[in-house]
Symmetry: C2
Subunit: 154 residues, 2 copies
Amino acid sequence: MAGVEGHIRIRQGDGRIVGTHSHPELTKNQSLVFGTLNRADGPLTAYAILDLLRDEGFRAPLQVYRALEKLLDFGLVHRLESLNAFVACSHPGCSQHHAVAFAICETCGNVLEFTPDAALKDLSKWAGDCGFSPAKTTIELRGTCRGCGQAATN
Amino acid sequence: MAGVEGHIRIRQGDGRIVGTHSHPELTKNQSLVFGTLNRADGPLTAYAILDLLRDEGFRAPLQVYRALEKLLDFGLVHRLESLNAFVACSHPGCSQHHAVAFAICETCGNVLEFTPDAALKDLSKWAGDCGFSPAKTTIELRGTCRGCGQAATN
DNA sequence: ATACAAGATGTAACTATGTAACACTGATGG
DNA sequence: CCATCAGTGTTACATAGTTACATCTTGTAT
């Protein structure tokens, strides 16, 4: 894979080291996008990521979308379908959890990621009964988190 | 509400009857959009609806989005977040089922609507434990339906 | 070494999806 | 009569995502 030496360092074409990360196989652009999502305290749209990376030389949305596609493949990033936005996975080593759920607070914008095992099992059962083979499962709750709900009733 | 007489007939501003439907409170544009979704054999995007209604005088996306917003409120239509598309509710009198799930076949485009009670209960339990108040729940399975799966292995 | 294949990147143009702002109409209720 | 409100029509705009094409880098086979 291009731009990677050993497990950690990322180099540009001229050999200059431009960044490090804990995941061994990220290219420069993937690393920049992943870093941006990790630093963010909530979901970001692709265009928001683009704006945050202008200083790093990003110019076109495709640079973001291509990196996001790989990061989604790796399981490092999730897409929130109801927001057209992306978040870094909050599980330590998330590659396993290909099915996950999100609770999105519409007041403060924070997102909670969780794994609703019983719900996923029920959906799998339904799928099996119907002969449907799910490739990806999207579960998103839009609503109000505890903090915002309390603030509203005070 | 404008454009409605009694329970059934829909009139334009000049009093001319332009359509009928089984839901008593739809305006002309709402009725046209709902009819289009009902006739379709799968989900439609807002712009696809717009194109199908050009002959009826539709000119701008807002005419579609405004109708869809009301139809979503009434529970007559669902939005598929992972497709940015809309479907007529397939339940007889759907207003009750504010939480529903979809299985979307990525091969043939067909959508199955179902109500996964156990999954919804599990998600409600999780929300209760976390103090999260869900306003809307999105559950969408992307994958392959029975027919398309069988066709692929033949 | 050299040549080739595959993956990654850069850029411009374009399509698709969704909203803001403003004007106008017709019904309803004082 | 007049105010109000939901619905409608229209223009322009904002946001989200893709196609097409060229270049570069790296790994691999010869």
